[in-house]
């Protein structure tokens, strides 16, 4: 007996499903089912994971959704092919984007427009046909069935679910009767919401969280039957309904969707006439390299050729041109931006001015970024001036079309705290218990909570986890651990489609109004779509503002990207640990490291950024490195051939790029294979997989005449390192920003601190610490002044003037009003200020309290005067309004008179 479940919810039904797609696929595989559908509510968020998982298990994935249709009814839709998938994406997008409050719903005409390639099942008890039948409206049900048959033709089926209950299963019989009467085939489903029967508790808990009601007050009928039933159970259940179970197989055979995951679906880059993408990229890469290095050496040419060949072979030329175009556009408008992450390993990226770290000088490995064996699109993340990210985004939308661009979603999932809070409310656990249980578990997963309760110092003293009456509660919290909670906007991800995005990806508006994909970044990558990460980095804004301020205050034009990187004053400041406010070097750990490392070169900054990380510090790698650096310990290598790879870090593995080199040099792997090895070691893997990798590495090394013991030891070091390795290219790119901010702090501290204070919150320290540091650097911090302060911190005669925007409770509109009024005439008194500025009484009082109006008198007296002045202002405004009204009335009267005369 075989059967295919066609109505299945995973936990991507967001608080209405209690199984992951992988668990569902495993279960189907266990029962030997040939196919399985996933039909989450109004979204495809779990579809790609499900598709991948099912394919790997040799099960045919059927992608679909249970959609809401007008009238609040449900309808189960399945994609039979790519046309159906595209239609489902368009339908879901339209439903979400056109909704006016409440749940998204498909209007009938929308179903009619997007029916091609879709198979429709009449739905659960909330489907239009069953709901009408259940309320005795046989005629209405027949009409509804007729409508769906008209829209979907022979791809419409009556869905039978059968949950034995005290009241019997009469609805199932009524539906079956209607199906026979109308000649519509009927199909058995189980509307699965959880894996095993006992999981109905988890589903009910999720439902009550979703409905924001205690679990005891959940509305609607309850059942324990929506679990993953075996083919035999389904056959027994539908014994009295001939053909209903078999129809599931027939429908499954009609669903043959091939998503072609991984096939690049890049937008087309507008090329000049007669130009090809590889040709243009090659030309610009060569021009850029020559510009940056002065001349093209053989080494540079070889590297360019190798990179260009890989980029072309993988079909990513267009992608590089798209990123180049975005950066070019931004730079032309004075918007600072630069690549972060592994992209800086590429000479092509550097030559195109996308990255600022020289990959040849810093000996960076292209294969850490991309290589022919890595079947994924490259990822070039851009850091952008925070204030102007929107402009870049608007440019992308304009260039590629609003319909072709969207934000990327992030799936917010439950960790321990969220699970305890939400489950606690649903189960009416007393609030003090919830609060105690939530203490000190900011990062912990709920599944590990009980396991860690006895070992973690912050949890050891709490008795709440050991209370027997709460065991069940914590068990349920663990059960929903990692479950998706809601979708939100990915911080920087922007998706660019090769055509209209909603043909491939369902979209919806976020709570903030941005259009987001229903897929997260991993699924987007699997779909082969281009995702650009435009990350707003406040440090870039600080650098930009400081440079501008230096220009305005001192008339000096500074090219911050060309400053010498061997300034002794900069390194002296760094060695003294005076780095508060400096990007990535300001934390106490970094300042302490500076005292131990005694950096003298730019490369030392790269080392420092890579050393002060949890991994190296926990494994005392920093101590080994520092001892060797200061000659207290000899520099040794496990094998002479590792000297090339680890020489720069004195025999210590510090960078991810070094893993590639070590694997290459010791065991003869190509760099591409070595990167595969590195990536495999950084992901979760089974003991067997690890052992296989170990043997392969050691045997290869032995074949190169390396002693087995040495190969084993190197492998152990690589395996241990994999957990905390840092990408050198990323460190190099960020070291540039660290150096630039440190340089600004050394030479132009007033402008630097004014900029950094203007961009709070950012960095490690609060404004008061930064202000104290500015004073320590000899910079006076002047109080706010309504005639001198701006919306940002400004430099005034070598001192910093506190901004008006810093005042507690002040609105940006009020600051605008002050600056705009002041630009006409300076404020001359409190009365003048109150009468001219649009700000609330508390805002004005706060300005007086902080001394922004000290030029006009005593603070206490001014505070007493404000209410009276505001009354006077209102009276004056009233008189003006009356005058205006009179004028309007007179004008209208005149006009009426004229009209009246005309009409006469």
């Amino acid at each position: 007996m075989s059967f295919v479940h066609l109505h299945v919810h995973s936990y991507y039904s967001f608080l209405d499903g209690a199984a992951s797609p992988a668990q569902l696929v495993d279960k189907a595989s266990h029962f030997g089912m040939p196919a399985l559908a996933l039909t989450d509510h109004n979204r495809l968020t779990g579809a790609i994971r499900f598709y991948d998982c099912a394919k790997k298990s040799g099960i045919k994935p059927i992608i679909g959704a249970e959609v809401n249709v007008e009238g609040g009814y449900h309808l189960t839709l399945l994609c039979s092919d790519m046309a159906g998938y595209s239609n489902l994406c368009r339908l879901l997008t339209a439903m979400h984007c056109n909704k006016r409050g409440g749940k998204p719903a498909a209007a009938r005409d929308l179903l009619d427009r997007h029916n091609n390639g879709l198979i429709a099942l009449s739905g659960c008890r909330l489907g239009e046909v069953p709901a009408l039948l259940a309320t005795g409206q046989q005629h209405g049900a027949a009409l509804a069935a007729g409508f769906y048959r008209e829209v979907f033709g022979d791809a419409f089926f009556i869905e039978l679910t059968r949950y034995p209950a005290r009241e019997g299963t009469s609805l199932c019989h009524l539906l079956y009767g209607l199906a026979r009467e109308q000649g519509i085939p009927a199909v058995a489903t189980n509307n699965i919401h959880y894996l095993a029967m006992r999981d109905y508790r988890t589903r009910e808990l999720l439902n009550s969280i979703g409905h924001i009601v205690p679990v005891t007050q959940l509305p609607g009928p309850r059942t324990v039957e929506q679990y993953f039933k075996s083919p035999d159970e389904m056959a027994r259940l539908f014994k009295g309904f001939p053909g209903a179970a078999d129809t599931s197989l027939e429908i499954a055979s009609r669903c043959n969707l091939d998503l072609e995951l991984g096939r690049p679906r890049f937008p087309k880059f507008d090329l000049p006439a007669g130009e090809t993408a590889p040709g243009l990229l090659r030309r610009m890469a060569y021009q850029g390299t020559e510009r940056k290095y002065g001349s093209l050496t053989q080494k540079l040419t070889d590297r360019l050729e190798m990179e260009l060949a890989t980029i072309e072979k993988l079909g990513f030329c267009g992608y590089f041109l798209i990123v180049w175009d975005i950066v070019r556009w931004a730079r032309e408008r004075g918007i600072r931006c630069q690549a972060r992450g592994s992209a800086s390993n590429s000479l092509v990226v550097y030559a195109l001015d996308i990255s600022i770290a020289d990959p040849v000088h810093y000996d960076l490995l292209f294969e850490r970024f991309m290589h022919p064996l890595r079947n994924e699109p490259p990822d070039i993340d851009l850091d952008i001036d925070r204030r102007r990210r929107g402009e870049v985004r608007d440019y992308i939308c304009k260039k590629y079309g609003e319909d072709n661009v969207s934000c990327v979603a992030t799936i917010n999932t439950y960790l321990a705290r969220g699970a305890i809070r939400d489950a606690g409310k649903a189960l009416q656990v007393p609030q003090p218990v919830i609060e105690e249980a939530c203490k000190g578990i900011h990062w912990l997963s709920a599944a590990k909570l009980m396991e860690k309760a006895d070992t973690l110092p912050e949890l050891r003293d709490s008795t709440v986890y050991k209370r027997p009456e709460l065991k069940e509660f914590f068990g349920l919290c663990a059960a929903i651990d990692g479950f998706p909670k809601h979708l939100s906007v990915h911080l920087g991800g922007l998706l660019i489609g090769e055509g209209r995005l909603s043909d491939l990806v369902p979209l919806e508006p976020s709570s903030g109004g941005d259009i987001i994909s229903q897929y997260d970044k991993d699924d987007i990558e699997r779909m082969g779509l281009v995702k650009m990460d435009l990350l707003a980095l406040p440090t870039i804004t600080v650098i930009e503002q400081a440079v501008r301020s230096i220009r305005e205050n001192r008339g000096l034009e500074i090219d911050i990207d060309s400053i010498p990187r061997d300034d002794p004053a900069v390194f002296a400041t760094l060695r003294e640990g005076k780095t508060i406010g400096v990007f990535q070097l300001e934390s106490p750990a970094q300042r302490e490291m500076a005292g131990r490392l005694l950096p003298r070169t730019f490369d030392d900054i790269i080392v420092s950024l890579s050393l002060v990380r949890p991994g190296p510090l926990k494994s005392s790698m920093d101590k080994v490195y520092l001892a060797r650096r200061h000659g207290q310990e000899p520099v040794t290598h496990l094998h002479p051939c590792l000297e090339g790879a680890l020489g720069e870090t004195l025999g210590v593995i510090l960078y991810q790029e070094q893993v590639l080199r070590v694997a290459h040099d010791l065991s003869g792997l190509s760099y591409a294979e070595a990167d595969g090895f590195r990536r495999a070691m950084t992901h979760d893997r089974t003991h067997e997989e690890m052992e296989k990798m170990r043997l392969s590495f050691i045997n290869s090394a032995v074949r190169k005449d390396v002693k087995r013991g040495v190969a084993e030891e190197v492998f152990e070091q690589l395996a241990a390192f994999a957990a905390y390795g840092f990408c050198k290219a990323h460190a190099a790119a960020y070291a540039v920003l660290s150096y630039q901010t440190l340089w600004l702090k050394c030479h132009y501290p007033a402008e630097f601190f004014a900029a950094i204070l203007s961009n709070q919150p950012m960095g490690y320290y609060p404004p008061r610490v930064l202000a104290a540091e500015a004073r320590r650097c000899g910079i006076a911090v002047l109080p706010p002044d309504i005639n001198k302060s701006s919306d940002l911190y400004t430099v005034e005669g070598g001192a910093i003037r506190v901004s008006l925007g810093q005042m507690k409770g002040i609105s940006s509109e009020a600051v605008c009003s002050i600056i705009s009024q002041r630009s006409r005439n300076r404020f001359t008194s409190l009365r003048d200020f109150v009468l001219r500025v649009e700000a609330s009484q508390p805002m004005m009082e706060n300005l007086v309290k902080v001394g922004a109006l000290d030029d006009f008198g005593n603070r206490d007296e001014m505070l007493k005067e404000i209410p009276g002045l505001l009354q006077l202002k209102r009276r004056k405004a009233g008189v003006e309004m009356d005058l205006q009204s009179t004028e309007i009335a007179a004008a209208c009267g005149l006009a009426m008179g004229i009209n009246a005369k005309k009409s006469c």
Binding site: Y163, P164, A165, R166, G168, M197, R198, Y200, R201, E204, V215, T216, R222, T223, V224, E225, L427, E472
Partner: protein, 82 residues
């Protein structure tokens, strides 16, 4: 009409776990026919397990309709239907 009973009973089951007879108030009732069965969601937040209910016709001096309930490993006579 039905009477709510909820009293513990002893149930004899076949090899296939189908009730064949039950003892209620020291009297034996022989199950003639299984009419229907279903499972009910419980108040699990109070620690109650899922209940399986089986509606049967059973005979002692006369034939009656009874609802047997299995909760965990215990059996109860849930209702008697007149």
């Amino acid at each position: 009409m039905s009477r709510h009973i909820d009293e513990p009973i002893t149930v004899h089951v076949s090899q296939e776990s189908v009730p064949t007879a039950f003892i209620w108030r020291r009297r034996l009732y022989r199950v003639v026919e299984i009419l229907s069965w279903w499972r009910e969601a419980s108040e699990w937040w109070d620690g109650e397990p899922v209940r399986i209910l089986i509606r049967v016709t059973a005979e002692r001096r006369g034939v009656g309709i009874y609802e047997l309930c299995k909760s965990d490993s215990s059996w109860f006579l849930h209702r008697v239907l007149d």
